[in-house]
């Protein structure tokens, strides 16, 4: 690390206590101030400051505000207005700094030690609780507004915006969702073949693959990718609009921000995500089929016949039925966090991260809830 002390090439600053006069000289600059501070404090600790009544700084060759502060501080420690003479050109500097000021000690808002830890836990708990309540409030508001929008779609439903969102979140996500689902299919089939071979039941790979991809993996992978891709985009877009005061401008013009910004995103994603999931299911199965072809020499028709025996339309529907719910949660969280953005640069990034984490968390929790529900219903 370069330090200003290392690059300084001025003569050393010095001070000397002599018969009640503190003589100082040299370059009293920021480069020397750390050392001078230590030495002056040591002098103070000796109680030597009681012994002088005057500072003679006439031999100072350079003085900047850090050095001037040290001189002024030393004079203050002398207990009053002792004489302090500096070369004439530094008069204005001293005058400028010598104003009444209370150097308020820097204090953290969090108390130290165990109490601090308790404070943090309490604060985080209150924050999480407040977050939950306000998210529920938001859910309520969006539900009411959606009801109104659906009751009179001609006025409140913005078809162009919805179509745009379907393109943005659905069609533009096809390549990445397709590739990743394909790879997941390949990996699942590969692992399953390895294990099932030991029992000579390698044909059951197809059954396992079909059920896992259709029921769980397809929709879960797609939702997580979309949360990372579109949920974060919603937060960033709306957050940036908030920073630019665009949302305030819309409100003053009487535009309903839920109708114009939130609903198109939610409806768009609720349309796009099930379609994406279906596509991901197909790509996952294709990946598995190709793996089976190379690993087990299982031809595609054999694979298809085996798959037909293993899964039904119900299996597919169990996966697809979850997609609109996940889409709603992702879009809701994305928009909600976007509206929470404050008018500073750090806020957008912070809330975008939070939006992704929260929506992925909620998607997985809901998926678990669905699993429990389905097993109770015996589906």
């Amino acid at each position: 690390m370069t330090s200003i002390e290392a690059v300084a090439d001025e003569p050393d600053a010095w001070f000397k206590l002599d018969r009640g006069v503190l003589a100082v000289g040299g370059a009293w600059t920021i480069a020397e101030s750390a050392r001078l501070d230590r030495e002056l404090n040591a002098l103070n600790a000796d109680g030597a400051q009681e012994k002088f009544k005057e500072i003679d700084a006439s031999k100072i060759t350079r003085l900047d505000s850090a050095g001037a502060w040290l001189l002024l501080r030393t004079r203050r420690a002398m207990g009053g207005q002792g004489a302090l003479n500096v070369p004439a050109q530094y008069g204005p500097l001293l005058e400028n700094l010598d104003q009444e000021q209370k150097a308020e000690p820097h204090r953290s808002r969090i108390p130290p030690g165990f109490r601090g830890r308790l404070y943090r836990i309490g604060r985080a708990t209150m924050h999480a609780w407040g977050q939950t309540v306000s998210m529920l409030e938001y859910l309520g508001r969006v539900t009411i507004e959606s009801g109104e929008a659906i009751a009179s779609p001609r006025h409140n439903l913005r078809i162009a915006a919805i179509v745009h969102q379907v393109e943005e979140t659905g069609i533009n996500a096809l390549p990445i969702v397709g590739l990743l689902s394909f790879l997941i299919g390949v990996v699942l089939a590969y692992q399953a073949v390895d294990q099932l071979k030991q029992f000579g039941a390698q044909n059951l790979t197809v059954n396992g693959l079909g059920i896992i991809v259709l029921r769980e993996m397809g929709v879960l992978m797609t939702s997580i990718i979309v949360a990372g891709r579109s949920g974060s985009a919603f937060t960033a877009q709306l957050g940036t609009m908030r920073v630019n005061e665009e949302i305030d401008a819309m409100q003053t013009m009487g535009l309903n921000t839920v109708d114009t910004l939130v609903l198109p995103r939610i409806i768009g994603l609720v349309i796009a995500l099930p379609l994406l999931t279906l596509y991901a299911d197909i790509m996952g199965i294709v990946g598995g089929a190709i793996m089976c072809y190379f690993d087990l020499n299982m031809t595609i028709p054999v694979f298809m016949r085996q798959l037909q025996g293993a899964v039904s339309v119900n299996t597919l529907m169990v996966g697809l039925i979850k997609a609109p719910v996940f889409a709603f949660v992702i879009a809701l969280v994305g928009c909600y966090e976007g509206f929470q953005v404050e008018r500073n640069a750090a806020s957008v990034g912070l809330l975008t991260t939070r939006s992704v984490v929260e929506s992925v968390f909620l998607v997985i929790v809901l998926d678990a809830a669905f699993s429990i529900m389905f097993s109770v219903l015996g589906i």
């Binding site: 200003i4 230590r38 900047d64 502060w69 400028n96 000021q101 150097a103 308020e104 820097h106 500073n344």
Partner: protein, 267 residues
């Protein structure tokens, strides 16, 4: 420094500077000297590259051609350690203050102190408090976050941070933009006072004609991709239509009409 009046070597020396984006040339071979201890104002219409000029001097933009010397060092050539050494000798106030939003004002001011000095925390706190007093902010600002400050206070806090290492050269990018006239006046006064007290050389980008009148010694006007340099009195005699408009328009006349003989002396 104010004491070395005999020294006339320029602090910033620009020769044949060309800046541009793609085929769009903004500065066409401009020359500029900034002398020690002076306040140089840079003005120009929107899009003439005032901020680009500032940014190319402090090394944020690589010029297409030409040389820029600051304290005798060519900024294009120095890198790493030598560049750090240069950067310690100047302070920059960006338009919106550019305070680090995750840190309190005191912590913002202490960033360069912590990075470049071995000061104790106690001394850094004292220095931060001193800088705040210097720029006219109340002591309790130290523990506030930038988002809790008004625009004018942010600029003052940004100025305190720019002055943290006691630089010799100060760059100000539109210091009074977005301030009400009273705050702008106070900011002008502050710049003038600090410039005198600390013996600063100031490179000031602005379009506020009141600021120009109040604090600058010389003015560089960016017109037609070139620089026209002079005092206010000299520039008022200039024939260029933009300069004429600028100094003789309604706003310009009003601002200059209030020029009293005392400030004429300075010019």
């Amino acid at each position: 420094m104010a004491d070395s009046t005999g020294e006339k070597q320029p602090i910033i020396r620009i020769r044949g500077l060309v800046n541009g984006f793609g085929s769009n040339i903004i500065h066409d071979h401009i020359d500029l000297d900034v002398r020690r201890g002076e306040v140089l104002g840079v003005v120009g219409g929107s899009g003439t590259g005032k901020s680009v000029l500032l940014r190319s001097i402090i090394g944020l933009i690589q010029p297409l051609d030409g040389t820029i010397e600051v304290f005798g060092n060519r900024t294009g050539d120095v890198e790493g350690r030598a560049m750090r050494k240069l950067e310690m000798r100047w302070g920059v106030l960006f338009q919106e203050g550019a305070l680090f939003s995750a840190q309190t004002v005191a912590e913002n001011i202490q960033v360069p102190l912590r990075e470049y000095t071995s000061m104790s925390q106690a001394l850094m706190n004292e220095i931060a408090a001193m800088k705040l007093t210097m720029v006219g902010l109340p002591a309790d600002t130290a523990n506030k976050f930038p988002s809790e400050l008004s625009g004018g206070m942010k600029k003052r806090a940004g100025l305190a941070r720019a002055l943290a290492l006691d630089p010799e050269l100060l760059f100000l990018d539109e210091p009074t933009a977005g301030l009400d006239p009273i705050s702008a006046n106070q900011f002008d006064e502050l710049i003038k006072r600090l410039q005198k007290a600390l013996g600063l050389t100031v490179f000031l980008v602005t379009h506020d004609i009141d600021t120009l009148r109040a604090v600058t010694d010389r003015i560089a006007v960016l017109v037609n991709k070139k620089l026209v340099i002079g005092t206010i009195a000299e520039l008022r005699k200039n024939d260029d239509p933009w300069i004429k408009d600028y100094f003789s328009g309604v706003r310009g006349r009003a601002a200059l009409a209030s020029m009293d003989p005392a400030s004429m002396d300075k010019v």
